[in-house]
Subunit: 202 residues, 2 copies
Amino acid sequence: MTDPRKATNETEHRQAMQELQAEMRAKMRAAKDKRGLIVVHTGNGKGKTTAAFGMMTRMLAHGGKCVVIQFIKSGSDAVSKLLRGPNLSWHHVGDGFTWETQNREADIASCRSGWNLALDYLRSDDLDFLLLDEINVVLSYDYLPKDEVLAALRAKRADLHVVCTGRGAPAELIELADLVTEMREIKHPFNAGVKAQLGIEY
Amino acid sequence: MTDPRKATNETEHRQAMQELQAEMRAKMRAAKDKRGLIVVHTGNGKGKTTAAFGMMTRMLAHGGKCVVIQFIKSGSDAVSKLLRGPNLSWHHVGDGFTWETQNREADIASCRSGWNLALDYLRSDDLDFLLLDEINVVLSYDYLPKDEVLAALRAKRADLHVVCTGRGAPAELIELADLVTEMREIKHPFNAGVKAQLGIEY
């Protein structure tokens, strides 16, 4: 296909755009399957949880029922207060980052309680969107048995969306997922001595 | 530093975590500068605009004043309805994707009107967060003069956050930005014949 950015005049531009339009429409016609997705946001860059919150905001705007289970982050996120309502349940099960707790057994126990909660929600039949925040980290630390988590996701209701965030998503989860994005850090102000900014990072 | 995931017993785990904690605290002490950031979300993967919406939701939750200028996407996003309020102004200036309009001159004109709007907001003194959605695409098509856009961003108020989204962010914008994340597509359901899902993609 011609790259429209390489067009040097209006005729070439129009032709390139017509080709692009035809290609996009063919893709859209081919894509008919409506189903709940397993979505993974991983990588070392920012935006994994934030993009999941953005998706969830969309789902809430459409009247969908959403649940957040935060496995590691402590404290409460401002987003939980703004989006508060009957369609949103928000659970913090972690006690902070693992380098703050420094207690492997306690971390494992809190992951287990979060996962039991997730299993309850996975069994419910009136949920549209389940966010398992930082579960990729939990799995990469072996704080929950990977096979158990993957089996439960494999058996999920066909129309439920599940979003798994966190660095280091295991290969088996990526294999299982429908939509996987790696947030890759190109530049981070933290490394240049700029502190976390209210409204941007928390 | 020892990798905590490689720890084989509780003592090793605790030691690795103490090292990690010391490293993170040193970084936090070093990071003192409070300032408005230029944030760029680019790459071919999903979550660029969505993560910007997530950030903006945080900012709104903190009572910050936010503006969205959407340069390309047409129609209205469900998020704009859910977050509606006195602290949020939302503008669609584009007529759709460029392969739908197929008219370069009209696209350039709508980009110009969006950019003039952005310039007005950049001059205002009571704004906290400006989202220039898809401006990276606009710049990569040369629909706005790159130098003019970069100069305006360089001259922005020190405490204003500006988020620029879209594929193909120009190198000069990445150079100027404080925080840059590439959303890299690892797997996309569209390519496997799954259509865009309500609440996830729109």
